[in-house]
Subunit: 315 residues, 6 copies
Amino acid sequence: MKKGIGNCSVGDAFDNFLLIKGSSRGVASNGKPFLTLIFRDATGEIEAKLWDATKEDEELFVPEQIVKVSGEVNQFRGKPQLKIFSVRPSQPTDGVQVSDFVEKAPVEKEALMEKLTEAIFEMKNSSLQRIVRAFIKKYQEALLTYPAAAKNHHEYVSGLAHHIVSMLALAKELHHLYPQTNKDLLYAGVILHDLGKIKELSGVVTTSYSLEGKLMGHIPIMVEEIGDMAKALQIEGEEVLILQHLILSHHGKAEWGSPKPPLIREAELLHLIDLIDARMNMLNRSLEKVKPGEFTERMFALDNRSFYKPLFEEQ
Amino acid sequence: MKKGIGNCSVGDAFDNFLLIKGSSRGVASNGKPFLTLIFRDATGEIEAKLWDATKEDEELFVPEQIVKVSGEVNQFRGKPQLKIFSVRPSQPTDGVQVSDFVEKAPVEKEALMEKLTEAIFEMKNSSLQRIVRAFIKKYQEALLTYPAAAKNHHEYVSGLAHHIVSMLALAKELHHLYPQTNKDLLYAGVILHDLGKIKELSGVVTTSYSLEGKLMGHIPIMVEEIGDMAKALQIEGEEVLILQHLILSHHGKAEWGSPKPPLIREAELLHLIDLIDARMNMLNRSLEKVKPGEFTERMFALDNRSFYKPLFEEQ
Amino acid sequence: MKKGIGNCSVGDAFDNFLLIKGSSRGVASNGKPFLTLIFRDATGEIEAKLWDATKEDEELFVPEQIVKVSGEVNQFRGKPQLKIFSVRPSQPTDGVQVSDFVEKAPVEKEALMEKLTEAIFEMKNSSLQRIVRAFIKKYQEALLTYPAAAKNHHEYVSGLAHHIVSMLALAKELHHLYPQTNKDLLYAGVILHDLGKIKELSGVVTTSYSLEGKLMGHIPIMVEEIGDMAKALQIEGEEVLILQHLILSHHGKAEWGSPKPPLIREAELLHLIDLIDARMNMLNRSLEKVKPGEFTERMFALDNRSFYKPLFEEQ
Amino acid sequence: MKKGIGNCSVGDAFDNFLLIKGSSRGVASNGKPFLTLIFRDATGEIEAKLWDATKEDEELFVPEQIVKVSGEVNQFRGKPQLKIFSVRPSQPTDGVQVSDFVEKAPVEKEALMEKLTEAIFEMKNSSLQRIVRAFIKKYQEALLTYPAAAKNHHEYVSGLAHHIVSMLALAKELHHLYPQTNKDLLYAGVILHDLGKIKELSGVVTTSYSLEGKLMGHIPIMVEEIGDMAKALQIEGEEVLILQHLILSHHGKAEWGSPKPPLIREAELLHLIDLIDARMNMLNRSLEKVKPGEFTERMFALDNRSFYKPLFEEQ
Amino acid sequence: MKKGIGNCSVGDAFDNFLLIKGSSRGVASNGKPFLTLIFRDATGEIEAKLWDATKEDEELFVPEQIVKVSGEVNQFRGKPQLKIFSVRPSQPTDGVQVSDFVEKAPVEKEALMEKLTEAIFEMKNSSLQRIVRAFIKKYQEALLTYPAAAKNHHEYVSGLAHHIVSMLALAKELHHLYPQTNKDLLYAGVILHDLGKIKELSGVVTTSYSLEGKLMGHIPIMVEEIGDMAKALQIEGEEVLILQHLILSHHGKAEWGSPKPPLIREAELLHLIDLIDARMNMLNRSLEKVKPGEFTERMFALDNRSFYKPLFEEQ
Amino acid sequence: MKKGIGNCSVGDAFDNFLLIKGSSRGVASNGKPFLTLIFRDATGEIEAKLWDATKEDEELFVPEQIVKVSGEVNQFRGKPQLKIFSVRPSQPTDGVQVSDFVEKAPVEKEALMEKLTEAIFEMKNSSLQRIVRAFIKKYQEALLTYPAAAKNHHEYVSGLAHHIVSMLALAKELHHLYPQTNKDLLYAGVILHDLGKIKELSGVVTTSYSLEGKLMGHIPIMVEEIGDMAKALQIEGEEVLILQHLILSHHGKAEWGSPKPPLIREAELLHLIDLIDARMNMLNRSLEKVKPGEFTERMFALDNRSFYKPLFEEQ
């Protein structure tokens, strides 16, 4: 199999299909128009210039178009750039489709769904269980395809479900180590905590923020949804308020978007589990790209730190 | 009319009815029990010690009980304390009632209701108007009696409505000065912004925080209520989301409890109007208690500042 | 009337007079010199490149020179750039002058002066009134032409007076709503609060900071001026100190340049009025440029927020 | 068995042995001396006044003395106080000893040691294993008796080992969930991270800070010790530096005492594991003391939060 | 000579003259009035209670009255308290005066004045020299008696001049080490930087803040005074603005009261010299009170640190 | 002697030897490769483009190569750029060497060593003296050649020794002004405080951070080294701990990398001396480059301030 664009080094030749993620027109110093294209495949992204672009080119090379590109990877202002030798739109006979060019969770949807079902099955508190089950039913399709974020962590197809399932495993173990904790509450919090992202984010492939996402954010969206769902299911009792509190407080403090800090043991634990899984996801993916003895690129969501991969990892 | 307890100076004799706000038992250095009582009337509060308290005293002198007290105002550790000469529970024939001993807004409920009605009448956007009207109907009684806060500003009977009506006047003038602003949105935001306090606070007389208030806070409570109300009234369109955003963002920034900062012109203005009215209420009430040439006590909610009353205010 | 440069979209042709705001020489990758020109008119600014520039071009195309330009608006690195087809210096017969190319307040100088005079006429405290009147006399010309800032808000000809007059209207209404406030003090504070900008800023057209502005800032400059003026007018009494305090504290807190926070009721109100008028000016001008359903550009002075213009503003 | 002092409510009679933790002399308003005593047993602490104290009393009732006290639990300024009816020093025949009056970890020393041994046995990297084993040997006695802190979390006999063993269980599970992590490094970091506390804290019973603790802190102390140990064992290679980095960075950021933030994946995870175990220890012990439907006391080390115990925990 | 009150330990008898610094009336739990008195002499302060105080006592024992006291130093709530055996007002024949009871700089006024004169004599820039000389003349008496602050550092008679002279010595050496610095500017900045304290503080003996001090602060006060002085002396040129900038910026940053940070090399150095001398004054005076091997009390103005005096200082 | 590259202005011709500090390959818009070269000599740095670069060029023009360049200084995006007319590698006969192209301290190594020796000779505490002497011996060569930092201050050959010697002079004077301070401790702290940089930085010429520097930093490195050295010299006593504390705390607070703030008088003074010398070094070197009446470039390590050089400095 050919190398993906994210795995190419400066100097490598490239000849394969890519998805156009962005396209904008400029005028070169010689007065002629050119296109700045952002290509991507499942392994990464790269910028390219199409010099002396015609009107036709502008119409052909637009976002979400798949193209066949042949070129060479160069460096421009410290970042890789693809020097284009030739480029053409893909054709039906090429047998490629958009979903081939986006990154996916390393676990299949079916496996993710199974893990969710198992967790719900373990729950004993019927109020919490019914609410969770109703949400899974309501959002099943989106839940299994959405990313967990527009960038930073789990920003790939099925990232949301991958994040939830990974957190469920953590929650199970932590409940085992600290048996005083309420497992049902933890599970419910884990499964629902980021579900508001389905309304906050615009979609699966080219993810941005919806108007509701920008003006409300996924936390208040989900708090309201839980209230609505409980009314619809005619569930009463402290569980509803406590569950809303878990969602509301899961970012940990006001500066990070939680108007109330965790004031319930399981809320504190949910916040910490979320932190660990998000950070480990970012770290693992970033460290995968470097060799022992090297530092990763700086990661903004990790206080701009650059991590070191020890030499003895080689053994 | 006799002086209220809040207007007495050290050395003044006192002989009048007071409401017991708090009572706790202690043991003096001579081994005898005593009661620490917090008295209040509409003008203020004072602490007192009832030495050599009997079992009977403990049962008689409990919170919400009105008593006739005769004593003298002393100073203890820099704060006034009432030295009790005699104290007895009030009797039906005394003709006093709890509502005589709590502070009230300087405007009558009827006048406040009239101002609210006028504002709603001025609104032209029917979605916003219907939502606001429905809330006024739903919460009318509480809205007209609740304080706007447990302490700091408008912390008196009808304080919430007083704060709203004062802000409405400000909103009207600001809309006049900046005609680009949407008056209906401003009015709706002003009227609804703190309505969640009816659920956040425990009640009118001895106000504390409810469990819902502690775990959710009035902002998420009200955001959810607006969503519910819009669904109940079958109102759709951006007005609902925008109105929810106004409530969500009215504390101005994340550290102050708004997970989103104002991102709509009227949201920004609502935040500023709220700030002005809360601060002017605190300042005016605090400056009233000092003479020209003096500084007020430090006010925690105003960054612990102590304000000066200029001498030329005497003229 | 032809479109201003600030109203052009990418792709528009442009053929009109522009003022050169900045000019710098560079050398192209082909070794030939070129000029980077910043053009402006009353509606906005745009950058342009003059390729293959001669020595003569360098001498002709300098700041404050008006030119006739014909070209097309392109995009370069995400920002508009004017592609020059031809450019020539304006001639006396063109009938254009520098003042045509700068933005002005939407209110005429005479109207602004009238509002100021009215406000002073309303004042009853003769100490405050005399100080204010003397300053208006001393700085009348500059006061009526200076911007209120080098950027961010009211950054146009007569911006300072426009800001003051707008704040006076607000002060008048706030005094009406909170009659305990001292109107004379408020008016004096409003009129004088930013007058130090006349020394802090370098001038009206291409505004930068003076040495005094950089080393002292408008607040200490104005505090000293008020002291001097009071001595010159032989005015004594607390009014002078209080007025200096209002100027000193009007930025609200130390981090924002006020060594003392507001400790006088009217100082607090002055700070809030200033905040409202500056923010509404920024917001209104920024929202004017976008259509309903769109977000504005990020505004640095508003915590880098991007505001949304609701769809129902269209109605 | 009789109730411990930490389990008594206001009004309860008390008649049992207690350890004196503190004693100080005062003079009452009647001019007579009295002693303020702090008593403790394994369940908690309480203050008491011994009125009309003689010279002899002062000499008898000193810290670390065990006494037999009979009295009643009262309330003073909102905190419980023991009213003393009689008090006498314990005698050899009473059969009580200091170790009966201090709190201990809920797990026995032998079990803790066994868990440590198991973990070391699992390690495969011989450099890390040898260093860890050498430290266990060097500090075995202290490691199994020291608290993990002077206050806040695991502040009881064997608290340090209890904290380490609890973190090891967490580390094991996290390595299982994130198999990319280096288990040996994690284990070594967990076992050694707080060992410097043996030098930082003054001892097991009445724990305060040593001079070395105050001027250096446990982090730099332990970093130096690891360097020394590696030299003594003639171990070279990156493992030593990386292990020192894990210790150095385990508080997560500079403000919390780590001059370098975690820059190794396992360092980040060590920091998070430490956070979880410390917080869960505080939370569990605090929630144990309240009933469902109540809030805990405020916990300083948890941002002064007071946590709620849901009603449905009763089920 | 007898021990001062600041040098007494708990248990010491005391029999000497003291100055009353504060006096307030209370009522004891037995219903009888008592006086809380704050005594001081040149070595320190102590609190005392005068039980069963008569009307006559209240009139006799007032602030600024010198009294002869015999008593014993006790401990109350962790702080020393003087138990009074007898107390009487001093009489003319006692030969004591208020100035005997206040702390003074360890250098005589004449010596301080001489150092100031020398420094001015060294200056070569006549503008700076004339301004400095005029201020020394204007404020000579106050300059030589005022403290440098109400508390924290140099808070004793002649503290201001002591601080200035100490800083001049430092400035001289730093100019020697960094000869690029302008000595005249440094000297002028040092001598004038805190002169505004003469207006900011209320006086020499019982120092508090004046109204001008509270509303303006010594920095803006002095900036204005320098402007006035320069006008009076008809001095023009950049020296005046630069000198005002040195004063304005000498607290180093906005949060500490300097609206502009140092932007001139000598301004930066002035800030650092001020920091060193203030801190060394606090440190030296605090360390004098403890023995080698002990920690000082916490010092608020030094970030609440408690400093250690090494054992080897004994040698 | 010819002008250095750091002293050239835009428009100047240049014809001299330069050292290549960096080299990277790019592809121009015409598709041809070019090299971006960073040249330096002892006076500064400049960027240059070598257009149409051949494979041979790429091999010749690499870092640490000395070249003869003839060209002209141009401006590109606001920064100087050298337009290359011709460039060739230096030859043995040119008689140039790498050390000619790096900046050096303005004092010779021998003079620096002499000052160090003098200081050690003045010390009386033998424990401190022996430790210091042993370190000087251990690191003499590196100490006399290393820079004090990779950038910001004393970032030149022998910068570390220059910084130490300059601080020693300051320490001597401060000890003279505050004779209570312990001179030996101060001297030892000054000489050793930054010695850890020898391990933190990669070397003398093209200085970056070593792995140990990135994961540990020079402070913990040096604390450990002092402990080791004391053990090697069999020195015991509080001096070792106190000296380690001085190193540990010399950055002043946790946020700046000192896990403990200064808690010893000499530690506080060491921190302040370090601050002064680092800042004066930066300021003097930056102000040297501008004329009276101008501002320096912004300096990141001085809170991004730009300093003004007064006009009267010309005299």
